[in-house]
C-alpha cells in the first residue's frame, strides 16, 4: 500500500501558495492531485480533471502587479 506525499512537500506547497497570495483551496487541490499521483498511475483524463480543479482555484487578480512596481 502506498502512502500519501511527504509532510515537507505539503508544507512546501502551502508556503509557496501563501507567498504568492494564493488561497488554501489551491494548495489543498494541488496536494490532492499529488497524493493521487503518488498512489497510482493516473490516466490523462484524471490528470486533466485535477488540472482544471487546480486552475480554477488560481487567483489571477494580483498577477502582474509585481512587474509594474
Amino acid at each position: 500500500m502506498r502512502l500519501s506525499i511527504n509532510e515537507e512537500l505539503k508544507r512546501g506547497i502551502q508556503r509557496a501558495a501563501g507567498e504568492l497570495d494564493q488561497s488554501d483551496k489551491l494548495s489543498q487541490r494541488l496536494i490532492a492531485w499529488l497524493n493521487e499521483m503518488g498512489q497510482r498511475e493516473l490516466t490523462k483524463q484524471e490528470h486533466s480533471r485535477h488540472l482544471v480543479s487546480v486552475q480554477s482555484a488560481v487567483d489571477t487578480s494580483n498577477i502582474g502587479e509585481d512587474d509594474e512596481s
Binding site: 506525499i5 512537500l9 501558495a17
Partner: protein, 653 residues
C-alpha cells in the same frame, strides 16, 4: 510505490548458474544474505541485476555482451531473470544475451499486459523508478558512499528528490504547460498565420533553452569534476615533490608563500571593492558635487504623515521641549508653525541622503581618492606577490622536469590540460549565463537570458493572439508554486535528514565522532575536508537509511560487501540499524564480514532472514562439496547453492 525483489535466476553467465528465491511465506524476507567468496561473480550479479531492471543492456556493445560470458566457456546464450513486486503486483524482466551475435534482448511479463512482451516494457507507474540513475541509488557500495560525499557529485540531491517524490511537482508543471500549449494549438487548420509563426518560434526557442540548459548543467558538473581532479593532482604533485628530500623544504616554503600571497590578495581585493562603492573615493570631483547637491537641497524637514503627531502631542504637554511652560497661545503657535517643519514623505529619504553625504563626503570622512589610490597600489603589489610565489613553485617543478623527472612531467601535462579545460568550461558558462549583448540572433545565441526574454515575449504574443491569457496566467502560477514548493520541501527535508543522520552517526561512530554539517547537492562534513573509508561508508549508510525510512517510495536496499573496512564496533551498530530502516535488505557478503555484523542484524530483524551460500564448482572448492548439508542444496554444472543458516554461519572459504 513499494518495490520488492522476489528473486532472480542466472544461467550461462559469468555469475554462477543459480536461482535465488527471496520469498518467506507470502512476503519476501526482510533480509537476504548471499554469501559468495571473492571471484564467484558478485559484481556480475549486481551488473546483471541493474541491467535487467533498467533495460541498459540494449545499449551495450557486442564486446560488453561477450564480457558477461564466463571465460573459456563457449555457450551461445546467457540469461538473467528478475522477479519483482510493485505495489504487490508481479513483474518479471528477463535479459537474454546472445554471445554469438553480440546482442541483447528483453522479455517483460506483467498481469496488466496479460502475458509476455518481447521487449523491456515496465508498466507506466514503475518505469520512472527503473532508470539507471535511480536504480544506482539503491545498489549501494563503497563507491556510491564516496559519491555522496564528493563535492563534484549531486548524488545526495538526486536521492532526496527521488525518494521524497519531489519529481511529482515537475510532472504537474509539465502537464500544465503541455495543456496550455494544447489549448493554444486548439485552432487546428484555422489557426491564424501569425499564431502559427509565433508558435513555431516558441517551439524553436524552447528547444534551444532546453538544449542550452542541458549544456549548462553538464558544464557545471564537468567543472566541478575538473576542479576536484586538479585538486587531487595538486596534492599528488606536492606528495611527489616532498619525496625529493633536497627540495622538500623549498617546495613547502613555496606553497606556503603562495597560500599567504593569495590570502593577502583576497583581502586587498575586498578592501578595494569596499572603497570603490563610495563615489568620492573614485575622484574628488564626485565628493564636491555631492556636497554641492546637499547645500542646494531644502532645509531639513520631517515627513508629514509620520511626524505630525509629534507636534500634536507636544502641544498637549505642560512644558515645551526647551523647558518653558506652555500656555494656550504657545500651543496654538506650535500647531501653526509645525507646518514649516513638515514636508512630503520624500523628506525622510532626502534627510538620509544629506546625512550620508555629510558622513562620507564631509570634512570628517576618512574616505578619499588618495585612500583608494593607496589601496589599489597595495592590491597590485599583492597581485605581483602572487605571481612571484607561483613562479617560484613553477620554477621548482620546471627544474625537476628538466632534470628528467618523467612522472612529474606527466602530472604537470595532465594538470595543464585540465586547467585549459576548466578555462574553456568557465568561458562556456559565462556565455550561457551572461547578459545579452545587443540584439542576439535567437538561432545562434548561447545566451540563456536572451532566449528566456524572447520566450516570454513570444508567449505573450501567442497568449494575446490565441486569447488564452487567463489560462497562461494560471499555468505560470502553477509552475511558480511547483518551483518554490520543491525548494522549500528540499530545504526542510535536508535539515531533517541531517539531524537524523547525525544522531545515528553518534551511535555508529561513537569512538570517532563525525557529523554532517549540511546537505547540499552532496553531503558536507563538519570541521573536516575528508573522511576515512569507514567513516564514508557509515555516513553513506546513515544517509540512505534515513532517506529510505522517511521517503514514501519503498525500495529494497541492495548492498555489495556491507562491512567493507568497517571495524567491529561499527559493524555491530550498522547491523542493528539496517532492519529498522528499510523494508527489504539484500546483501552480498563474504565470510569475514559476518563477525559482529550478523549477530546484530539477526537481533534487529523482525521480518525473517534468508541465508544463501554460493560457490563455484572448481577443483579448489572440492573440499566444500564434501561438507554439504543434507537439505537445501541446489547444484548446477558451474556452481553450488546452499540455503540455510547453519551452513552459512560455518562457511569458510
Amino acid at each position: 510505490m513499494k518495490v520488492d525483489i522476489v528473486g532472480w535466476e542466472s544461467e550461462g553467465l559469468r555469475s554462477p548458474d543459480m536461482k535465488i528465491d527471496l520469498m518467506a511465506g507470502d512476503e519476501p524476507a526482510q533480509v537476504a544474505l548471499v554469501q559468495m567468496p571473492n571471484g564467484t561473480g558478485k559484481t556480475t550479479t549486481l551488473q546483471m541485476l541493474t541491467a535487467t531492471l533498467t533495460g541498459a543492456a540494449l545499449r551495450w556493445r557486442p564486446e560488453d555482451i561477450r564480457e558477461m560470458r564466463r571465460p573459456a566457456d563457449s555457450n551461445e546464450r546467457g540469461r538473467f531473470r528478475v522477479d519483482l513486486r510493485a505495489d504487490g503486483k508481479p513483474i518479471t524482466f528477463e535479459l537474454l544475451l546472445n554471445f554469438a551475435e553480440g546482442h541483447a534482448h528483453y522479455r517483460t511479463t506483467t498481469p496488466a499486459t496479460g502475458g509476455v512482451i518481447g521487449k523491456w516494457e515496465p508498466p507506466p507507474g514503475v518505469r520512472r523508478f527503473l532508470t539507471a540513475e535511480f536504480i544506482q541509488l539503491f545498489i549501494f557500495d563503497g563507491e556510491f558512499a564516496e559519491r555522496l560525499l564528493s563535492q563534484s557529485s549531486n548524488e545526495a540531491e538526486r536521492a532526496i528528490d527521488a525518494l521524497c517524490q519531489l519529481y511529482l511537482l515537475d510532472e504537474v508543471a509539465d502537464f500544465a504547460i503541455k495543456d496550455w500549449e494544447q489549448a493554444v494549438r486548439g485552432g487546428g487548420p484555422t489557426t491564424p498565420t501569425g499564431l502559427t509563426m509565433a508558435l513555431n518560434k516558441f517551439s524553436k526557442i524552447k528547444k534551444r533553452i532546453e538544449n542550452l540548459s542541458g549544456s549548462e548543467k553538464e558544464a557545471q558538473q564537468k567543472l566541478k569534476e575538473t576542479d576536484q581532479k586538479i585538486k587531487e593532482l595538486d596534492a599528488g604533485i606536492t606528495l611527489h615533490i616532498s619525496g625529493k628530500t633536497d627540495l622538500r623544504d623549498q617546495h613547502a616554503q613555496a606553497i606556503e608563500e603562495k597560500v599567504t600571497a593569495h590570502g593577502a590578495l583576497e583581502s586587498k581585493l575586498a578592501e578595494t571593492m569596499r572603497q570603490i562603492r563610495y563615489p568620492n573615493s573614485l575622484h574628488p570631483i564626485f565628493g564636491n558635487a555631492l556636497i554641492s547637491l546637499k547645500q542646494n537641497l531644502d532645509r531639513l524637514k520631517l515627513p508629514e504623515a509620520t511626524s505630525r503627531q509629534f507636534f500634536v502631542e507636544l502641544a498637549e504637554e505642560d512644558l515645551c521641549i526647551c523647558g518653558r511652560p506652555l500656555d494656550e497661545h504657545s500651543r496654538k503657535e506650535i500647531i501653526v508653525r509645525s507646518k514649516h517643519y513638515l514636508g512630503l514623505e520624500e523628506a525622510g529619504s532626502i534627510n538620509a541622503l544629506k546625512k550620508d553625504i555629510e558622513t562620507y563626503c564631509g570634512e570628517g570622512s576618512d574616505i578619499s581618492a588618495q585612500g583608494l589610490t593607496l589601496t589599489t597600489t597595495e592590491m597590485l603589489e599583492a597581485m605581483k606577490a602572487v605571481h612571484l610565489a607561483e613562479q617560484k613553485e613553477s620554477n621548482l617543478k620546471r627544474s625537476l622536469i628538466d632534470s628528467g623527472d618523467e612522472e612529474l612531467a606527466g602530472m604537470e601535462a595532465d594538470r595543464n590540460k585540465l586547467a585549459s579545460l576548466m578555462g574553456d568550461l568557465k568561458d562556456l558558462l559565462d556565455t550561457i549565463g551572461g547578459e545579452p549583448v545587443g540584439d542576439e540572433d535567437l538561432d545562434t545565441t548561447h545566451c540563456l537570458k536572451a532566449l528566456r526574454v524572447a520566450k516570454k515575449e513570444t508567449e505573450a504574443k501567442i497568449t494575446k493572439i490565441s486569447g488564452t491569457l487567463k489560462h497562461k496566467e494560471q499555468t505560470d502560477m502553477l509552475m511558480e508554486i511547483s518551483d518554490r514548493a520543491k525548494k522549500f520541501a528540499r530545504m526542510e527535508i535536508r535539515d531533517a535528514i541531517r539531524d537524523e543522520c547525525n544522531s545515528m552517526l553518534l551511535k555508529v561512530l561513537g569512538n570517532d565522532p563525525l557529523q554532517i554539517k549540511d546537505i547540499g547537492e552532496s553531503l558536507n562534513i563538519q570541521n573536516q575536508s575528508g573522511a576515512s573509508v569507514g567513516q564514508t561508508l557509515s555516513v553513506g549508510y546513515t544517509f540512505l537509511m534515513s532517506l529510505l525510512s522517511r521517503g514514501n517510495n519503498q525500495f529494497p536496499l541492495v548492498v555489495d560487501s556491507p562491512c567493507g573496512s568497517l571495524g567491529v564496533g561499527r559493524r555491530e551498530a550498522i547491523g542493528g540499524l539496517i532492519p529498522q530502516l528499510c523494508t527489504q535488505f539484500i546483501t552480498f557478503i563474504i565470510d569475514v564480514e559476518r563477525e559482529a555484523f550478523l549477530p546484530a542484524l539477526e537481533k534487529s530483524s523482525k521480518g525473517g532472514i534468508k541465508y544463501f551460500t554460493a560457490f563455484r564448482n572448481t577443483p579448489q572448492t572440492k573440499h566444500l562439496q564434501s561438507a554439504l548439508p543434507a537439505d537445501g542444496v541446489t547444484q548446477s554444472a558451474s556452481a553450488t547453492l546452499v540455503e540455510g543458516r547453519d551452513y552459512f554461519i560455518n562457511f569458510k572459504e
